[in-house]
Amino acid sequence: MRILTMLWKNFWGGSRTLLFPARPKVTQRFRGLVQFDPELCSGCAICKFRCTSRAITYQAGKGEFTWGYDPGQCTFCGRCVEGCTEHALKEGHTEHALSQESACPPIYLQEGELKKVYTVKRKAPAPKPATPVAPKVTAAIPESSTGGAQ
């Protein structure tokens, strides 16, 4: 009989789903799409390594590298953002028409439709800081005790 009470409550209590074009409001805790800043990226590919859903692709080339992100494959776990030492990755507010208050992940009809690929030139390696010449340490060799006290 409890199931009937539940059905009755559901029947009059409104629905928890929406018709197709309507989309639910996302919560404040929703992380959003990953945004990439090519200026800051050093191409270490740690994000690709940490991405368990394989949404991030990385290909190293000569003097440049390509970095790709497919939101359709992303699970929004945020591990890439956490692991980015250069702070080149952020979780999204503006790009991909995504704002945390109103929009949820975009609808896509074909695989890879939302994928974005960036080709980034590698930065010239920063000049190495001049290292001070270490003073030669001459180890005091103890005199041999051969032929000492005789």
Partner: protein, 304 residues
């Protein structure tokens, strides 16, 4: 009933012209009410119609080793017999009918089920065959109760004419028969908890698994028409028919609607039963109603 009246009833009211939109409407009511009971939005009002049109526009892929003519014929036979069954319903008072039209209605109601069994076996799919075997077992189980209940109602009222049955006042025995028929309806319409022939998760909708495009559209339509015919039959037996045809039609539609809601609530509240449990339910539990109804009807007939 003249040929012209018969044609008008079959093609216009309560036949195809009325029954097809009514079938879509009943399918929508069922889907929508189940969705609302489960806390979902459910389909929009026109969805069954859109589904039908969309399926009509699709192509049927070539199926190797399957008799294409047969596969096309079964859904058409199912649709035409279900529409014929709806055409026999005495929705309006003094709408004609003939002695024994109840028996014809029962036969026509049974044909779609036979078509489903045959279609599953002709599709040469293992899932179709399992579904057909289940449908056959289910059909044997519930039909005994269904037929006994209707025979008891008819025998107690001394007529096999639908219109006469609709006009006669209800008796307690008739209510027992109606209850037995109502218990059989979920099995006849493949609803939970007796939806095992077309179980989507286990056997991919069973006999329907190899059907696509217009053929599947016809199956959907025949299912909707079965809804109209079966609920209409119960509404005919329950509703007191009055001389004023507008009120009669309104009561008929309201009762059919109520029965659809009742069956939807049952479908939403229950889970699918296994075949042995279903058969045991009909042969051990429900048949008591039917035997009681028939024996009382025969007793009353002997006494009178």
């Amino acid at each position: 009933m003249s040929l012209l009246t018969a044609l008008a009833r079959l093609l216009i009211f309560p036949g195809i012209l009325f029954a097809v939109p009514a079938a879509w409407f009943f399918l929508w009511v069922e889907r929508k009410s189940v969705a609302m009971m489960q806390g979902r939005v459910g389909p929009p009002f026109m969805q069954p119609f859109y589904d039908f049109i969309k399926l009509l526009g699709k192509e049927t892929p070539q199926r190797a080793g399957v008799a294409g003519g047969l596969m096309r014929a079964w859904p058409l036979i199912a649709v035409s017999t279900a529409a014929g069954a709806v055409g026999l319903l005495p929705v309006l008072p003094s709408s004609g009918g003939f002695q024994g039209d109840l028996i014809l209605l029962l036969a026509l109601l049974e044909v779609p089920s036979i078509c489903i069994i045959a279609a599953g076996f002709s599709s040469r799919s293992i899932f179709g065959e399992i579904g057909s075997a289940r449908e056959a077992v289910l059909s044997v189980s519930y039909n005994v109760v269904f037929l006994l209940a209707i025979i008891s109602v008819a025998a107690s009222q001394h007529t096999f004419r639908l219109e006469a049955l609709a006009q006669l006042p209800s008796t307690p025995l008739r209510w027992v028969g109606i209850l037995a028929i109502l218990i059989c309806l979920p099995a006849k319409l493949h609803l939970n908890p007796f939806s095992l022939p077309n179980a989507e998760q286990e056997i991919y909708s069973g006999p329907m698994v190899e059907f696509a495009g217009p053929e599947l559209a016809m199956w959907e339509l025949s299912h909707g028409l079965e809804w109209v015919a079966a609920t209409g039959l119960v509404a005919t037996l329950i509703a007191p028919q009055t001389a004023f045809w507008g009120l009669s039609a309104l009561v008929f539609i309201a009762l059919s609607f109520g029965i659809v809601l009742l069956l939807s609530a049952l479908a939403a509240a229950t889970a699918r039963l296994a075949i042995d449990t279903t058969v045991r339910f009909y042969w051990q539990c429900t048949i008591i109603f039917a035997v009681l109804a028939v024996s009382s009807a025969l007793f009353m007939r002997i006494r009178s």
